[in-house]
């Protein structure tokens, strides 16, 4: 410490009074310490020994390059663990002392005693250590200058830091608070089962305005604030357009793979070129971010993970047996668990193409090979009926394709903002049944093998349409049970039959 009138300089040159010494002393007399730093390394806290644990709260506001430096510090720490095995006993003890402090820091971060924020608005290069005095008599202090919150910054480098005391510390506290707030997330909102339908619809529009028929400009004109981070329960998992978002974090993974896929599908579904162009036009800074959708999944607890692995193994074996015996549908833990759902999920995680993806690629190839096909498909009536001979002689079956409606956020009606259900917001399902309604099959790949036709495959109808009415009713009932009951679909919402084909 060097003193000249009221100016105290701390530059680490005094072996007794380094920045670390100041902070150690202040830990005893402060209830909280706010730290601004360009870089943060865990070693800086560790060198304060247990002193920092006496402070009730430590806030660290840092520049965004700090994460790399901190990661290096952690990597270095891990490397030292390995190296310690070869070192002398004394050296090992020293390094273990260093490591002893890490769990306490980790625990303090978990408990919210140490809170870190990264300032991203501009390059953050400020260095300040500002205390909040435990008692008014002692008061608050600050050290402002060049020392980063790193071991060299507190101990070794030649730095230039100036101590501030008295009323000026209040000004520094205000400065810190302002930047701390700026580094936080704004526009955070949550919706759950207790939110009204109107609140949900409002939140969806403010979170994903462009894919729900609005825009940032329109929201601003209505005096509504956009939502940047939306925290939601499963109520947002299905039937909504949330493609404005580019990151989905799944916490508390759903046991049913289909529900999980539906969640991801809210964000990772077909993008509209026009809407994407408008987003980039209004927000040029998002141009590079609009190419990909990211999702993070918090993995399930170990026991459930083991169960899922077992499920994967058993489903694979049973599927092989089912195929060998010609059984078209596989069931496992529950009545409605089909192997197709699990296969799709496994393949999604493994990076393989699922059967559904292969079918979509086949469809796209058909469109490429026949440029007029798309126009012909557009002209097809809303319901299509056809028939052909079954590829296997003597086998009879009926193929049905239906759309399952889902809530459509673009169709809000009534004073309470109720969402209407629409086909376009929903998904298509394929079903293959025997004429008596038995042996329900849902595997699209398997069904495709039965119905795949070429342009010269003869159209052949043998059955009276009226005779198929009870079968259609039976299948509809099953689809309501399997798809609409889980969604608690209101009265009047039913599967919409789009096409069917007799195979005789």
């Amino acid at each position: 410490m060097k003193a000249g009138s009221d100016l105290f300089i701390v530059d680490n040159s005094d072996s007794e009074w380094k920045v670390r010494s100041y902070l150690s002393e202040w830990c005893d007399i402060s209830s909280a310490i706010d730290i601004a730093t360009g870089y943060f390394e865990i070693g800086a806290l560790l060198c304060l020994k247990e002193k920092w644990q006496g402070v009730e709260r430590i806030r660290v506001l840092m520049g965004d390059e700090v994460s790399r430096r901190t990661r290096h510090a952690f990597e270095e720490g891990l490397r030292k663990i390995v190296d310690a095995l070869d070192s002398s006993i004394e050296e090992e003890k020293k390094k273990n002392d260093f490591l002893d402090g890490v769990p306490a820091v980790v625990e303090a971060i978990r408990a919210g005693k140490i809170v870190c924020r990264v300032y991203r608005r501009d390059k953050f290069h400020a260095k300040a250590y500002i205390t909040h005095g435990r008692t008014a008599v002692v008061g608050s202090f600050a050290l402002v200058g060049s020392s980063n919150l790193t071991y060299p910054g507190l101990n070794e480098n030649v730095e230039l830091n100036v101590q501030v005391r008295g009323p000026e510390v209040g000004l520094l506290q205000e400065w810190y608070e302002k930047h701390w707030q700026e580094a936080g997330f704004d526009g955070v909102e949550k919706i759950d089962g207790s939110s009204s339908q109107k609140q949900r619809s409002d939140a969806i529009r403010r979170f994903a305005p462009y894919y729900n028929g609005s825009s940032s400009v329109e929201l601003a004109g209505q005096g509504k604030k956009e939502i940047r981070v939306l925290v939601a329960t499963d109520i947002l998992a299905e039937g909504l357009n949330l493609q404005d978002a580019s990151l989905l974090i799944n916490y508390d993974l759903h046991w049913n793979p289909v529900r999980l896929m539906q969640r991801i599908g809210r964000v990772d579904r077909r993008m509209s070129p026009e809407v994407e162009a408008q987003i980039v036009l209004d927000h040029p800074e998002l141009k590079g971010l609009r190419q990909k959708v990211f999702y993070w999944n918090f993995l399930p607890p170990e026991e459930l993970d083991d169960l899922l692995r077992l499920y994967q193994r058993v489903s694979h074996k049973t599927l092989m047996i089912s195929r060998a015996l010609g059984v078209e549908t596989g069931k496992l833990f529950r009545k409605d668990d089909t192997f197709e759902q699990v296969k799709d999920l496994n393949k999604l995680f493994d990076g393989e193409q699922s059967e559904s993806e292969k079918l979509r690629l086949e469809y796209q190839k058909l469109l490429r090979d026949d440029p007029e096909l798309a126009a012909r498909l557009d002209k097809l009536p809303l319901k299509v009926f056809s028939g052909r001979e079954h590829p296997r002689p003597g086998v009879k079956a009926v193929f049905l394709c239906a759309r399952i409606p889902r809530p459509d956020p673009s169709l809000i009606e009534g004073a309470e903002g109720q969402t209407r259900w629409s086909e376009s917001a929903g998904d298509a399902v394929w079903v293959l049944v025997q004429p008596d309604g038995s042996h329900l099959a849902r595997d699209p790949a398997l069904i495709a093998e039965h119905i795949r036709s070429l342009p010269d495959t003869p159209r052949s109808l043998k059955w009276d349409k009226a005779d198929l009415a009870p079968l259609r009713k039976k299948v509809e009932k099953q689809l309501i049970h399997d798809y609409l009951r889980p969604l608690n679909a209101p009265v009047g919402v039913s599967p919409v039959l789009k096409c069917w084909m007799e195979l005789h």
């Binding site: 459930l304 009545k335 009951r485 889980p486 679909a489 009265v491």
Partner: protein
């Protein structure tokens, strides 16, 4: 509606007609089957011995999207209302605190938002009763049963 006509209501289908025609519920002429979701006792966690006491379980589909409350029609084989079975059904339908414990194949409700309309009794003299669970914090849910004849009872 005269009381004599009310007393003639002995099936869920009769009750459905009463709700629409007399109480103006917007059921839009749908048949009972189309108005309800079907459940198997096993889906609601009932073991064989309890499942044997149940003839039919149906849920009235929501009348509007996002409706928080639910009405279940349950027909029992027993001559008296089997309270334990009803309690087991309740525990299967209420929202669990841990999200992943909730079943994905059906809706879940707060206990107070559920009404069970039950049918039981002898074949030639069936009874209809309304059952509702009320729970104070830290206490077991209390079952309150209101018979079609107006008789009220409570079971803890």
């Amino acid at each position: 509606m005269p009381i004599a006509d009310l007393r003639r209501i002995s099936t869920f289908e009769d009750l459905r007609d009463y709700l629409e025609e007399e109480l103006d519920w917007r059921l839009e002429g749908y048949e009972f089957d189309d108005l309800t979701f079907e459940y198997e006792p096993e889906e609601l966690g009932l073991k064989d011995e309890d499942a044997a006491k149940v003839r039919k379980i149906r849920q009235l589909r929501p009348l509007s999207d996002g409706q928080p409350w639910g009405i279940f029609f349950i027909e029992f084989e027993k001559k008296r209302l089997p309270v334990v079975v009803l309690r087991r059904i309740l525990s299967s339908l209420v929202i669990k605190k841990r999200q992943s414990a909730n079943k994905s194949d059906r809706a879940a409700f707060k206990a107070e938002d559920l009404l069970f309309i039950t049918r039981f009794g002898a074949a030639n003299d069936p009874e209809i009763a309304f059952a509702h669970f009320h729970q104070d914090e830290g206490d077991l849910p209390t079952l309150r049963v209101l018979g079609w004849d107006g008789h009220l009872s409570a079971h803890r």
